[in-house]
Amino acid sequence: MSNKPISEMGWDELVPGAALYTFQGDVDYNITEMQPEDRLYSETSSKAMSVGDWRVIKPVWNSETCIDCQNCWIFCPDTSIIARNKEMKGVDYDHCKGCGLCVSVCPTNPKSLLMFNEYETVEDALTQWPEKKKKGE
């Protein structure tokens, strides 16, 4: 496959069957030991495509209350929870579609992930965080 963007390729330049390779070249190295940001994703990999604008509400993460339990990382259907060495780092807003699953599985009190309107900034959202609920509340 040539290095042209797909939108400029003629029919004779495309891979048969519209098969798309995930990485540039062959993966002849141990990719499992590399972090995603260091992997050589191809231009046609969905990693390279931002779908953040599909979202109308977004999860905001509060590091003050988070206990790094990894529930959100396990449940996110779009691998959009970024964690390193079992520590929560944030949300990948290029690929998160705003489904809210991470919020529903967050076990802390108050929750460490909450949904906000897309147009609200993360900074503003963090100022609106609820207090810890009392027993029976």
């Binding site: 029919w11 048969p16 069957g17 098969a19 798309l20 390779y21 995930t22």
Partner: protein, 412 residues
């Protein structure tokens, strides 16, 4: 080659289904996923017996429907295996969505389609309505007229389908019951020879190749869908060359010769019919008889390869005849039959412009006999001598009740 060899006789007595089953076995298929339906059931049933008795190293998956059967074939094909299945009629109709997936994803699959009428009314017998349903699905479609040919075509289908320049699924057609359940002499290849002829499976973008992770079945919109369909069409059009090369290689191995367009008696014919399937075999008998008895010179032309349509070869084969009847064994659904359309399209730009009529016949397995064909030949002979179509363009042949014909010739 499978670990356990089956010792076959020099000449076996097989029906068309057994011919398919044996070709599957000898082709060392990795995965067969299927759902049974008359009259193609025995293709897979026999194969399962081979499997149960240790003659097949590959896997058999019994799916919950034909849609699932073809889906499983596509999945196993994308994973990197040689795959095949068989179906008929309603099963094909249920499968149709996935046929487009297989060809669009460029997954080699061999589908033995044992032609049967489509309901309603429910009918298990042979006509070509399921074959016609696959017309635009982007598959190579090859037609066998006898059990021997079914064996030969199914075996060759793997080689054609998996060729690097093709990488498209292939349908190996035969007539339900007339071919699938008629036992005839079949000369098979030895397991080793057949396996060598088909060759090893060549993986292309296999999902199970972890050195090159790949996504199959992607979404394309207006920005590159057209280019992909163009590429697919070009591969299908180009597959004719590979089919001819495969036929030539097979002739060298077996002495049996196949052409993309088969014919009989056409060299000195004044009139001709064009048909598909076992009618070709019946026509050969009828042609010999009427030539001897009544001096009418008739030829029969049959596209061995239905897709890619051999338009140039069909036109070339009909350059000396004055009248042609295109015989379609499928209810045409409000227009002329497929063969009429395509043969007329082939002839309209050629030097010879014979009279072309359309006969709808044999629906739901109604027999087309030697006597029936001779009547058709006499009508063609009269039209040819009168220099005009005496009736209308389309006629239903062999149906009870008042005569049915449609479309007047211009100026009549």
């Amino acid at each position: 080659m499978n670990n356990k060899e089956m010792n076959l006789k020099g000449v076996e007595v097989w029906d068309g289904n057994m011919a398919n089953s044996q070709a599957f076995r000898q082709a060392d298929v990795d995965v067969i996923a299927a759902y049974p339906i008359t009259p193609s059931t025995a293709t897979v049933e026999n194969y399962c017996t081979f499997h149960a008795n240790g003659y097949v190293d590959g896997e058999v998956i019994m799916t919950e429907s034909e849609h699932a059967a073809m889906s499983a074939c596509i999945g196993a094909g994308a994973a990197g295996g040689r795959v095949a299945t068989a179906t008929s009629s309603q099963g094909l109709a249920l499968m149709i969505e996935t046929l487009y997936q297989a060809s669009g994803m460029r997954i080699p699959v061999v589908l033995c389609l044992v032609n049967r009428a489509l309901a309603a009314p429910l009918n298990v017998n042979g006509d070509h309505s399921d074959l016609y349903l696959t017309r635009d699905a982007g598959w190579v479609s090859i037609d066998a007229f006898s059990p021997q040919e079914a064996y030969d075509m199914t075996l060759m289908s793997f080689k054609i389908s998996e060729h690097p320049a093709v990488r498209l699924p292939v349908i190996s057609n035969q007539d339900g019951f007339m071919t699938s359940h008629t036992a005839q002499n079949v000369i098979p290849l030895k397991d080793e020879v057949a396996s060598k002829f088909v060759g090893d499976y060549l993986q292309v973008n296999a999902l199970l190749n972890f050195d090159k992770p790949v996504t199959h079945g992607v979404q394309t919109e207006q920005d590159w869908h057209f280019e992909h369909k163009a590429k697919q069409h070009d591969a299908l059009m180009g597959s004719k060359k590979v089919i001819e090369e495969t036929f030539a290689e097979f002739k060298e191995l077996t002495g049996r010769e196949y052409k993309v367009v088969e014919s009989y008696g056409i060299e000195d014919a004044d009139v001709a019919i064009v048909c598909l399937g076992s009618t070709f075999e019946t026509a050969k008998l009828a042609i010999d008889q009427i030539k001897k008895e009544e001096g009418i010179n008739v030829g029969v032309v049959a596209p061995r390869v239905f897709r890619p349509f051999p338009l140039e070869e069909i036109a070339a084969s009909l350059q000396t005849v004055k009248a042609v009847a295109c015989m379609d064994r499928s209810a045409p659904g409000g227009t002329v039959g497929a063969l009429y359309n395509e043969v007329s399209g082939a002839l309209i730009n050629s030097q010879n412009r014979p009279l072309v009529t359309n006969l709808i016949y044999g629906l739901g397995g109604r027999d087309m006999t030697v006597a029936g064909l001779k009547n058709i030949f006499r009508t063609l002979d009269k039209d040819s001598k009168d220099g005009k179509i005496n009736g209308r363009i389309q006629t239903l042949i062999g149906v009870r009740g008042p005569a049915l014909s449609y479309y007047d010739v211009e100026g009549k």
